[in-house]
């Protein structure tokens, strides 16, 4: 009998590269990895179940705690979906502030993803650099919202806190520091020979495959699928004249570079927002009512969809969340990890698609 697989190697659920519990089973021949299977289910808490029957002020926090890294976008999509149901208008100042906070969150998430990648390929210097830059971003987040993670900034009809002149100035100063540093680290990443060895041409996914697997977020955009950026459909981003970042290589390197570029893009978006920030109120009021909606937004990892049905008092009757990571994990196992040359590349490729297990399993 012909032996097809030498050994099946499990990676995880507790593994130094994974920050969250997930298990990969790699079937290998020699060093080569033939297939990979993902085993999920270590984080299932039943958040959608406990959301039912609750008003927005409780569901908002549960939505936020679907994922701690991209908490702001979960909050934003949920709140904007509730506003869509109830026909609540957002004051323009609040809409711009939402973009500011959302982009800050995207920055910290992208920097963290790149940190994880560098950590996984054992480039710890760059990893620590990035982690330190992330602290500056978190400082800005804390300055505006009062907390570093799980900010609870948006409420139906507006945001919770206004931004003062000094805060805006401090924010811009912080962003300048971040910009300078990230620019240097991007150069480091792009020119380093060692990183290139581990990244260029590893885990390649073509545009066709990406569309087939419905890859979203930076993973999709690295494979030249710019239309997967849902910020193109958001009214505030349209006003800001947003164009997505896009690369064509579709390998680990491209995915990280897309995230670096998006950090730079976020900085410019925030600057634009602060520059154009209209005067006026930050809360418009308005109570949540009954209705049904499917609403999407662009999370740091890609397309985030909420389906919500509510009753007359704005309590959630039914809710379904589709998070980006599930598409990316599938795309990763079927199209990227296939036939990589070593087990070490499995972890780095998997991390490069920036999987978020807490999002996926809820």
């Amino acid at each position: 009998m012909k032996k097809t697989v030498d050994v099946s190697i499990p990676i995880g659920p507790m593994h130094p590269c994974w920050k969250e519990p997930i298990r990969l089973k790699c079937e290998t021949i020699g060093e080569r990895v033939l297939r990979t299977e993902v085993e999920l289910g270590y984080m299932k808490k039943g958040i959608e179940r406990i959301m039912r029957g609750r008003p927005w002020q409780e569901v908002m926090f549960l939505a936020e705690r679907i994922c701690g890294i991209c908490s702001v976008i979960h909050n934003m999509v949920f709140i904007e979906a509730m506003e869509g149901i109830s026909g609540i208008a957002v004051p323009p100042r609040a809409a711009y502030l939402r973009v500011v906070v959302n982009e800050l969150d995207r920055m910290e998430s992208h920097i963290l993803a790149n940190f994880s990648y560098c950590y996984t390929i054992e480039h710890e210097t760059l990893a620590m650099y990035l982690l330190n830059v992330r602290e500056i971003v978190l400082d800005q987040l804390e300055r505006i919202t009062g907390s570093r993670i799980n900010t609870a900034y948006m409420i139906p009809g507006g945001v919770r806190f206004d931004i003062t002149e000094e805060d805006a100035a401090a924010l811009l100063a912080g962003l300048a520091r971040v910009e300078e540093d990230v620019e240097r680290y991007t150069r480091m990443f792009a020119t380093s020979y060692l990183i290139a060895l581990r990244s260029r041409g590893v885990g390649t996914m073509t545009r066709e495959k990406a569309i087939e697997a419905h890859a979203v977020g930076p993973t999709g955009r690295a494979s030249n699928v710019p239309e997967c950026d849902l910020r193109l459909q958001h009214p505030t981003y349209q006003k800001l004249g947003f164009t997505p970042v896009c690369r064509t290589e579709g390998d680990n390197f491209a995915r990280n570079m897309v995230r670096f570029d998006e950090v730079m893009q976020s900085i410019s978006l925030i600057r634009q927002c602060i520059g154009q920030l209209p005067e006026g109120p930050i809360r418009g009021g308005g109570a949540c009512t009954a209705g049904e909606i499917t609403y999407q937004g662009e999370a740091p990892r890609g397309e985030l969809t909420y389906y919500i049905k509510s009753d007359e008092y704005g309590r959630i009757i039914d809710i379904t969340v589709r998070t980006p990571s599930i598409m990316n994990i599938e795309a990763c196992t079927h199209h990227m990890i296939n036939d990589v040359t070593s087990v070490a590349d499995v972890t780095s490729t998997f991390i490069s698609s920036d999987p978020c297990v807490a999002c996926t399993e809820r």
Binding site: K44, L62, G68
Partner: protein, 151 residues
């Protein structure tokens, strides 16, 4: 107290190996523990070294409301850690289940139901400084004179 014991106390309080396990959190505490690694907080200057092997750890950081998948695995990980050891609950989830602790959810908090928890760091998530302070304040008291206490 023997000289050897004094030496052990000294060494143990200056070299704390930490292993962390995420038993169903939202990631918030996870990344705050990661942030401790950042040069700003620089966990290693205090002699705390993070790595994810329970067999060489002294302190287990537990994050997350315990999901059914982890109930037995958490105990297994705890028992792999060599003595002297301690577990710290990071964040609200292992202390009370946080916002997930409602009827119909799948979780089984608190973590103290499954393994002995020596200290708790409340917060959702706690700041890295709070995590650091907890580890630093706990470690010497737990490990001090371990051999003598055991007797």
């Amino acid at each position: 107290m023997s000289l050897l014991q004094k030496l052990k106390n000294r060494v143990r309080s200056k070299s704390i190996h930490v292993c962390f396990v995420d038993v169903g959190s939202c990631n918030g505490c996870d990344i705050e523990v990661l942030a401790c690694l950042a040069p700003r907080y620089d966990i290693e200057q205090y002699g705390i070294y993070v790595h994810n092997n329970p067999r060489e750890a002294d302190i287990l950081l537990v994050m997350g409301a315990v999901t059914p998948q982890w109930v037995d695995k958490l105990v297994a990980i705890w028992e792999k850690i060599p003595e002297p050891k301690a577990a710290i609950a990071i964040g609200n989830c292992p202390i009370s289940g946080c916002v997930y602790n409602r009827r119909d959810s799948y979780i089984d908090p608190p973590a103290a139901k499954h393994i002995p928890i020596a200290a708790q760091v409340p917060g959702c998530p706690p700041r890295p400084t709070e995590i650091l302070a907890a580890i630093l304040s706990l470690a010497p008291t737990i490990f001090e004179n371990y051999e003598e206490k055991k007797r």
